[in-house]
């Protein structure tokens, strides 16, 4: 290890991942979302500072991506050109991934999945009566660039009913998965759409105790970045856990 204690990462990024602010997240036990009742641990989580393995994390290289991975309109197309485009309202979703300190999170993998324009997922377990779109798979991937920016193209997903309190309805949403650069920065969430009238009725958004936190899951209509005569744009920024600076912390040999 170099004498200055740095591990070769950028200055200011070599410390521990900051503790998770659990007030920003849903608790495990949320009986209005019935499935959580039997799947929620009842004992307190064991709190520990992250170790070397938790401050590190898997690295995904851009070379795993295929050219259409971030284009859900075309990446499951059954025909060439726009004859194979998915049905629905064409949208671009874009934004920046930052950490809690405001630093961009570059070169990190983002995975997304969603229902089609009718609210039907292409999954062996989804039997909703809305039809499958032969040209829509509903999954995509991208990496953030050197400044933490990402984008993908898709169709706006439809709302759909699900069995919870009778037939509840999910607002339109896109599932999003991020890794960051540390194992404990992992985050899976869902983005919603500005103005969706179903948002206030959703038991899953309702798992969030802080309404301001729920607001941060709403992608904003971005007319400035709409593609003329092609696609609307929505902006969705993501914040992952930050990393502490190290002050007066001598690391033992070998860490």
């Amino acid at each position: 290890m170099p004498a200055d204690g740095m591990t070769g990462l950028m200055a200011g990024t070599q410390g521990d991942i900051m503790r998770r602010d659990r007030n920003q997240h849903p608790p495990a036990f949320t009986p209005q979302y019935k499935t959580s009742v039997l799947r929620s641990p009842r004992r307190a989580l064991v709190s520990l500072e992250p170790g070397p393995g938790e401050n590190a994390g898997p690295v995904f290289k851009a070379r795993i991506l295929e050219p259409l991975d971030n284009d859900l309109i075309r990446n499951y197309a059954q025909a060439e050109g726009n004859h194979g485009d998915a049905q629905g309202e064409r949208i671009i979703v874009h934004g920046k991934v930052l950490d809690e300190c405001g630093r961009p999170v570059p070169n990190t993998l983002i995975e997304v999945w969603q229902a089609n324009a009718g609210g039907r997922y292409r999954h062996k377990n989804d039997s909703y009566l809305a039809p499958l779109d032969p040209n829509f798979g509903g999954q995509g991937r991208c990496m953030t660039d050197a400044d933490g920016n990402y984008f993908f193209r898709t169709i706006r997903p439809g709302p759909y009913p699900w069995r919870n309190n009778g037939s509840d309805w999910r607002p339109a949403h896109i599932h999003i998965s991020l890794f960051g650069h540390a194992f404990v920065q992992r985050l899976v969430s869902q983005l919603y759409f500005e103005g969706d009238p179903l948002i206030p009725f959703c038991p899953i958004i309702g798992t969030l105790p802080d309404k301001a936190a729920a607001e941060r899951l709403v992608a904003r209509l971005d007319m400035g970045n709409a593609v003329p005569f092609d696609a609307l744009a929505y902006r969705f920024d993501v914040v992952l856990r930050g990393r502490r600076q190290t002050f007066f912390e001598n690391r033992p040999e070998g860490m």
């Binding site: 004992r43 690295v59 999954h123 999954q139 899976v188 969430s189 860490m255």
Partner: protein, 193 residues
Amino acid sequence: MPVEYLKETPSQTGGPYVHIGTLPAFAGLAVRTQEQPHIIDGAGERIRITGLVIDGSGTPVRDALLELWQADAEGRHNAGDFSGWGRAAASSETGEWMFETVRPGVVPWRDGRPQAPHVSLLIFARGINIHLHTRMYFPEDAAALEADPVLRSVEQAGRRATLVAERTAAADMPSYRFTIHLQGDAETVFFDM
């Protein structure tokens, strides 16, 4: 006013169709059908880990997604070609999941004390609002388990056993069984690190 930081984006459940985005071939999509992210290649002793995630009624969770993260056989993360990362789906019929990987080496804890060899696991599923983080240790390492700084941080000594797998008989490679209990008397220890 204290210094302000950005607030972490809130978690939401991965939902029942988490596989579409994470293991598309498992969901039934004709996408990346050759990938086998539950098999982690690398130098070292090959091992198999199988298990179940059990809900509060004793029923296997059949829509769970697990992610594994570990050091290589020498106790290093992100060294060489070893990814250290894997992903597996619970069977839609039985809830069984499986990883094949290499036996991890010893990683020092924050204070330099050795940790017993272990893999870290994250669990995602419908009804799990924010993913659960646990560890699996190996039963042969009795002295190292006794001294492990993370196990020792679990105040109730009787709960530490929830993090230790069972060795099972298998002819081809050392195999381990790890049952994760989301609730109940045997509730697995989950971490907030």
